[in-house]
Symmetry: C2
Subunit: 690 residues, 2 copies
């Protein structure tokens, strides 16, 4: 008989095929003029150079961590009667890292091709260019979910959920993917903002040349950054929540006999995303922003309908489906509230733009204040969704309540293929605009690419809300997994903050996301300093560059190289500290301390992630709003103040903010992985205190 | 026989007398020239006008809340067989609010006198001026602790700790004081930053006239702001933690038979502070900053020695004394780490100043990043102190462990008389500088007042760290009180975040400090807009004002009036929301939800309070560092960028940041007050969900 869970690998394979089809579709489009090919080639080359260097360093890291896992988990290999278990975990970990790296590479490859093609197609109008941009993004979206779910299916197909292991291999797979995602996000985030800030500060502010001007030595690096930061980074972020929430459902489902519902729902979600991606094209009637959002809603409805039918036939309790509905609805609601705080036609952005009239300081204070306000609705949304899912499933019996929360996370993430597609669309058309400007395709084409870009921003507001909401629900589900694994290992964890060990863990946990963001942002600052010096040098030393003399070209590669080397140097401390502190807290304070630590880091991580992402988006749009001509428009004092806000917002929204999601996911996964070992060996336990 | 606890009212009375002595000492000093008297008089008048208006509005609020307490607590009066209990709680509440208001008034009165006197004495050198500044501050410090502890003693002497009431009157007293403190801090914080930002933006930035220039119509309002924001506000902040931690120790001590240790330790702390204040004067040898810090250390040692002797004779277990030592040490350590992040000669400030060379945006990003880093050591400090105090006292028996944490909080706050004195010194000498500038006392006097001001900043770093650390430990102690009261009322609370009701409460709690800060800062923004318009109007419409024509004066009173009206209008929403949301969470979700809510708000409140206070202090000092001549000094582009940072930091460090301490204390107190009632009446309980 056909096993229902096989829908997961099958739809994952279809997803990869659909991705290939889109790849082929985009690839056969015209790349445009010689100059465009040249620019696009330079971006591609820069992105490849970065990825190659990054993967080389990460390979070392992954091998070291993988060997540690192989040595220590599920039990130290020298005490384990079945050392094959250690090997399984290590292999699952490597496989997870590999899948994540592959998906990142794939998406980036097509994104760096689609940009020029969409720009060239824009000569024929919006409706010609839009499908290229969207389908380019869909390659990333479908590849990411395809590889992720295929990987999960393979690990599950081979190892199942072995009851005697303590740590299921699926968790090691998830950690492999998330660990790589953390580096990809942090590294990409530092790269992209280094280039962006440096290019703007020297180009726009000091020399007064326009954005994307080919004379600017950092312009290619800036475009590369959009790809390595936004395409690869955002994809990795959502993929890691996706894999982690699937793993959480599977682990919590073991005791209930509902392991495979995760795979069934995830598989159906992929099919819904594919349908959404294919039908989107015909929906375009001049407003690409609406088309993207309509595609998302359609995907939701298709998924929920299919999941309902499947639940009925497979005799899943309807409450489990209900939990998924709750999660998905919460995702949409959270996305809509971030939209309110970052949209040009809503009060927060307009008030911030108004504050820009009195200078940079009031711009920052006002935007930051609205950013603080913006955290409230998503937090309540996550809280309400968890509570509803919990009480919905609680009547099914012991263990179902927390299972319900994990299903809400899974439900929210089911349509992630579509979400990533929308998201990757943004940097592709942003690049198209850059290429159109650099290749001199004329004002009309730039106007169209501007419109495509604006649509990307509209979609982005919802997808960002989704990403943070999904991470929030996922880490709560992972808390439940952590509790489950620790309890099985003989040490039940109660997250009671009046236990001083839990409290201490929690207070350290509260500090970690702050420390992590600080390290990333200071890294951007240091890196930007190096790059600014280089840009100034080139303008000074290359004769004719500033004046735009025919045939004079800046040394783009040098800037790409600085951004690459710097990003890799700066990402290591933050990422390594995340892992090391987590393990130190665990092996010193035991699972109680580690439980508190996770709770503290989740609270402060969500707070800071929402604050930074939304404040950053808000400042960006306040600047754009002024550029439409209000409060004096471009070049006015208000505009200059708004540019300061936008620049502050850059590392907020594109480096620190979104990396925090991944950070708390990684912390949760590593804690669950090591929970059983920590129960056996921890300092306070050995000293008899805890 | 002499009852040991009577040391509290006796030393409180001595403290008030010592305060009167200092008052007399300061008052008999020369107020200087006619012009100085005039300026000082204007500041005094403005401060009085603000206080009068504020107290009028607060009186209405206090009466309404007091009546509600009288009606509802400890049980609704119509169900209570002993309605005298309701009356007792209402009266204790009124009394608490009254004591807080009185202390605020007293301190402000002397501060507005001491400023001119210290400025005039500065003509005779640093050593003449310093004692006047310090003793002016000490009036505030000694008055605040005197009135606070006398109030506590009176309430305790009359009502004791009645076992049958559920809610002890001492808690209502504490809530009265904290509630008033919240308004005083928020209102004063909005007032001071409205005036400061407006005066700077129009005066320094637009017109290029110096700080404290008498032509600036906002200059008096700015000086008034220092008094109503910093003197009254900071005093109220520490006083409310002080009262709350004393109340927590008394409540937790009931079951253990150790109610009066709180009063004994608090009384000894006051005596130590008085000794510290009296000996400080002789310690001045040219470096007032060191003198202030030495005074603090001396007070610590005297207190610990006396408390040790008292514990020995009164046969208190030595561990209880040990917990106080732990708390006090943590306070010093936390203060020292904030000092690192905000001192001109340390890396964070220097790096931020360097970042100012590349503009305002990098200044903000760098300072904000260090601000994020600065939260880690205090959080760990609070966690470690709680854990040590807990494990130190745990062997004494059940209930002692949490009692230990409350004693750590009390120990940290024992020397609060000295801390407030140091703190109030700052705005007094800041005002002296303003008066010296406006009255034209010459460069040498301004240099001396600058030096006095710098000493205030050095001391401030430590006192600020103290304030936040103390609030942190206090709210943890209050969590224990909340748990105790809820358990007695029949509903034990476990702060387990895997309970979805707790989780939802916690996520809402995480959002509250963010919302509160946002409302205050947006209030400052709106208020500053009104004031900026007025300043510009005066410069435009008053002939000769800009040029500084002899005899032409701006309308100072108008600016004071705008700041006053605006501050009172803006403070209400934030403060009322704090109380209302807390009660709504409780009466809807029950004590479990409320427990989670408190935990969430404590974590996010501490995070944001530390971030904002330290980032603000850091930007302030980065600007001052540049003004010493580095990176181009005053007037350079780096300086302009640093001014933006300083302006952003103003509402961070003086409005939102420090109000958060009080906010979480108020939330904790109101939760404890209503806990028993909430156990009986809450929506989820009635619906049978929780």
């Amino acid at each position: 008989m056909f096993e229902p869970w096989l829908i997961a690998p099958i739809s994952a394979a279809i997803s990869i095929l659909a991705g290939l089809y889109f790849y082929y579709y985009v690839n056969k489009q015209d790349s445009g003029t010689e100059r465009m090919r040249e620019i696009s080639g330079a971006i591609k080359e820069g992105a490849n150079a970065f990825l190659k260097k990054e993967y080389k360093i990460l390979a070392i890291f992954v091998i070291v961590v993988g060997m540690l896992i192989g040595l220590l988990l599920p039990q130290p290999v020298w005490t384990n009667a079945k050392p094959i278990q250690n090997l399984s975990l290590a292999l699952a970990y490597f496989f997870g890292a590999f899948c994540s790296a592959l998906a990142g590479y794939f998406g980036m490859d097509i994104a760096t091709k689609a940009n020029a093609k969409a720009a060239y197609a824009a000569r024929g109008g919006l409706n010609k260019a839009f499908p290229i941009g969207f389908r380019g993004g869909a390659v990333m979206g479908l590849a990411v979910v395809g590889f992720s779910l295929l990987g999960i299916s393979v690990v599950y197909g081979i190892t199942g959920m072995p009851a005697d292991m303590g740590v299921p291999p699926i968790l090691a797979f998830s950690f492999g993917a998330s660990g790589l995602a953390l580096f990809a996000k942090a590294g990409g985030g530092i790269f992209t903002k280094t280039a962006d800030i440096s290019a703007d500060l020297v180009g726009k502010v000091e020399l007064g040349i326009p954005e994307d001007d080919p004379r600017n030595p950092a312009v290619i690096a800036d475009n590369v950054g959009d790809n390595v930061g936004d395409v690869a980074g955002m994809g990795a972020d959502l993929a890691d929540s996706y894999i982690a929430s699937t793993a959480a459902v599977m682990i919590l489902g073991v005791a209930l006999g509902f392991v495979e519902i995760a795979l069934v729902f995830a598989g159906l979600g992929i099919i819904a995303s594919i349908i959404g991606a294919f039908t989107l094209r015909t929906g375009v009637k001049g407003n690409p922003g609406k088309a993207l959002n309509m595609g998302t809603y359609a995907t939701c409805i298709v998924f929920l309908a299919m999941a309902f039918v499947a639940s009925y036939h497979l005799k899943y309790p309807l409450q489990l489906w209900g939990a998924a509905v709750v999660g998905l609805t919460a995702g949409i609601v959270i996305g809509t509230t971030s939209d309110y705080f970052t949209s040009e036609d809503k009060k927060p952005v307009m008030k911030t733009a108004e504050a820009a009239k009195t200078g940079a300081a009031t711009t920052i204070i006002t935007g930051f204040s609205y950013g603080l306000q913006s955290v409230v609705p998503p937090l309540i949304g996550i809280g309400v969704a968890s509570a509803i899912a919990y009480y919905l499933c609680a009547p099914l019996g012991a263990g179902y309540a927390l299972f319900g929360i994990s299903l809400a996370a899974l439900g929210m993430l089911s349509i992630v293929g579509m979400i990533i597609s929308n998201d990757a669309y943004g940097p592709i058309v942003d690049n198209s605009r850059g290429i159109a400007e650099q290749a001199g395709l004329g004002d009309e084409v730039i106007r169209i690419t501007d419109e495509l870009d604006a649509a990307g921003n509209t979609a982005k507001a919802i997808t960002k809300g989704f990403a943070i909401g999904a991470a929030g629900l996922t880490v709560i589900a992972l808390l439940a997994t952590f509790q489950e694994i620790a309890a099985k290992a003989g040490h039940p964890v109660v997250f009671d903050v009046m236990n001083p060990i839990v409290l201490m863990g929690a207070l350290i946990g509260v500090g970690m996301p702050a420390l992590f963001s600080a390290l990333l942002m200071l890294g951007v600052g240091r890196n930007a300093e190096r790059m600014i010096a280089e840009i100034r040098r080139q303008f000074k030393e290359i004769p004719g560059l500033r004046e735009g003399k025919e045939g004079v070209k800046p040394d783009y590669a040098k800037c790409v190289d600085i951004a690459t080397t710097g990003a890799l140097r700066e990402l290591l401390p933050a990422s390594v500290i995340t892992l090391v502190v987590t393990l130190v807290v665990g092996f010193v304070g035991g699972v109680q301390a580690l439980g508190g630590y996770l709770v503290g880091s989740i609270f402060s991580g969500l707070l800071l992630a929402l604050l930074m992402s939304n404040a950053g988006g808000l400042w960006d749009n306040a600047k754009k709003y002024i550029e439409t001509g209000v409060h004096g428009g471009k070049g006015s004092d208000a505009h200059k103040a708004a540019v300061v806000g936008d620049t502050v917002g850059d590392p907020f929204k594109d480096t620190a903010g979104p990396s925090l999601n991944t950070m708390i996911t990684v912390m949760s996964l590593v804690s669950s992985l090591f929970a059983a070992l920590i129960v056996q060996y921890n300092l306070l336990g050995i000293l008899g205190i805890n």
